[in-house]
């Protein structure tokens, strides 16, 4: 049985200047302190809005361990990423897993954010411009495991009645440890439970 729903909005720098809208639906599960929070989110870059650049996530958050106000939360999301730029267009499927250990009290919380996201496969299509100016033989098709990202940061939140304000901040590196451009992420968010 659902006990709470929430809508959220998040803006900030997360691989691009982006906005993310979300819907969250909490299920209570017998004896499980946090229940299971199902969610669906959609992110788009807002610096230069382009609906060819989107990120959709469907997943869940659950508590693995709780002792008093100390928690270990886990998240798992399926990710659909789309992009189109001067060199190529792509549609990609990925998985994102995160562990969030930290304090989560009645009014506020502070959690570490350790996440790994793997792009499992992407359908890449080099652009006509790229073929004309650079490499005519570039191949369209499905590419296996083209990328991965580690995110290491913190999340902080304050609850004010039905509203929760949250901030995320941290560093990003590629799967093999190279810094991302930019090498950090930072977002501000607001969720309203109803």
């Amino acid at each position: 049985m659902p006990t709470a729903q929430a809508a959220s909005v998040q803006v900030g720098l997360d691989s691009a200047v982006a906005a993310r809208l979300g819907y969250h639906h909490r299920l209570t599960l017998g004896g499980w302190p946090h229940g299971l929070q199902l969610r669906a989110r959609l992110a788009v870059p807002v610096a230069t809005p382009d609906l060819a650049d989107t990120r959709a996530e469907v997943g869940a958050q659950a508590a693995l361990v709780q002792w008093r106000a100390l928690w270990l939360l886990a998240e798992l999301d399926g990710v659909l990423l789309n992009t189109r730029n001067a060199a190529f267009a792509a549609n990609a499927l990925g998985l994102r897993a995160a562990l969030l250990p930290g304090y989560r009290g009645g009014r506020w919380g502070l959690l570490a954010d350790l996440a790994y996201e793997a792009t499992l496969a992407a359908h890449l299509r080099p652009s006509d411009r790229y073929r004309r100016k650079v490499y005519p033989q570039a191949r369209d098709g499905w590419y296996g495991h083209p990328g991965g990202t580690w995110q290491l940061g913190v999340r902080a939140g304050v609850r004010l009645g039905p509203v929760e304000l949250a901030a995320r901040l941290g560093w990003m590196i590629t799967e093999q440890g190279a810094p991302h451009l930019p090498p950090f992420f930072g977002t501000l968010g607001l969720a309203h439970a109803f």
């Binding site: 060199a87 496969a121 650079v134 083209p146 990202t149 590629t174």
Partner: protein, 333 residues
């Protein structure tokens, strides 16, 4: 039921991934380099293998072309092979085109093997082997003009003269004055957001992927908005060497500031140098090159009308005319 579905899904997943292309394999998203494709014209020296072509009589005076970047390639400079006013460079000169270490279609290396010292040694080897005992002419575009100046400064006795096609800053101090205009790092810039968004799909974790990703910037007109390029400019490239680009830039930086000085030995040479600027470049165009002119004791400046920074590709005939004029004047001295 679920216990049967899981292995089936896993098997299907593995089968699908096994049928996928490898983004790290050259030939799929980016062309192969000379060490991967023996059919490409090449030469090996100083522990690396270079994409290399030379045209013209083997006993003629030598011109060595130096492409931009660092990291780009000589494909666009090949437009300077065309005839203008009934003559070609290679009619009277031996003209050498090559991709620098770790750049274009030359062999890739780790960053530790990509330093200005090695770049200097590479060009020195080339000069000694394509023009033994006779000074060469250097023609360098953008970064290639900086590279030519560094070589002229270090080896004045081996350079007969140079044409510097809108070189970048010849000192770190000058770079600091214009660095905001060289690359548009506005957090709202479309090219930057396109690049960073794309890195969540394709990580720059090896040469092929990093080189391919870089084209999102190279093909975007807003990456260098002050350089006078136009969206319909007919520019061409083979492949951009990202690690070379980053390593050579890093070699000239300390504490985040540009500290290089490619001009220290210029006082030792009277070799004729011509600087060429594009009329539309608002960052390193005519006004900037006029300041750089002061580093040389025997130099002049010419402006190519109605052109942007890529004028050797977009205006090859006009570029060739100013090269011929300089060679005709200085080459007979």
């Amino acid at each position: 039921m679920h216990t049967r579905l899981f292995p089936l899904a896993a098997t299907l997943g593995v089968a699908l991934l096994a049928g996928c292309l490898d983004p790290s394999q050259a030939g799929h998203l980016v062309p192969k380099t000379v060490d991967q494709d023996p059919a490409l014209p090449q030469v090996a020296f100083n522990g690396s293998r270079f994409h290399f072509q030379a045209f013209g009589p083997t006993d003629a005076p030598v011109i060595i072309m130096l492409h931009g970047g660092p990291g780009s390639d000589h494909r666009g400079l090949l437009r300077l092979r065309q005839a203008v006013d009934g003559r070609r460079l290679e009619d009277r000169w031996r003209v050498v085109y090559w991709d620098q270490r770790g750049a274009g279609l030359s062999q890739r290396h780790d960053a530790a093997e990509l330093t200005m010292a090695r770049y200097d040694a590479d060009l020195d080897w080339l000069v000694d082997h394509v023009s033994p005992g006779r000074p060469v002419w250097l023609v360098g575009h953008s970064w290639g003009g900086m590279y030519a100046t560094a070589y002229l400064s270090n080896h004045p006795e081996k350079v007969a003269g140079a044409v510097l096609l809108e070189p970048g800053p010849l000192t770190g101090a000058l770079f600091e004055e214009v660095r905001d205009g060289i690359v548009n790092l506005d957090v709202f810039a479309e090219w930057l957001n396109d690049y960073t968004w794309a890195t969540r799909i394709l990580s720059p974790d090896d040469h092929a992927r990093a080189d391919f990703l870089q084209l999102t910037a190279l093909l975007s007109p807003d990456a260098q908005p002050g350089f006078g390029g136009r969206p319909d400019d007919d520019t061409v490239y083979w492949r951009f060497g990202v690690v070379a680009n980053q390593a050579i830039q890093a070699d000239g930086m300390a504490g985040g500031k540009g500290v290089w000085d490619f001009t220290t030995g210029l006082a030792q040479t009277q070799a004729p140098v011509r600087l060429v600027a594009s009329s539309r470049n608002e960052v390193i165009g005519e006004a900037f090159q006029r300041r750089q002119l002061g580093f040389f004791s025997n130099a002049d400046l010419v402006v190519i009308d109605d052109s942007g920074h890529e004028f050797p590709q977009t205006h090859p005939a006009a570029t060739l005319r100013v090269i011929f004029e300089h060679l005709d004047a200085g080459g007979r001295q």
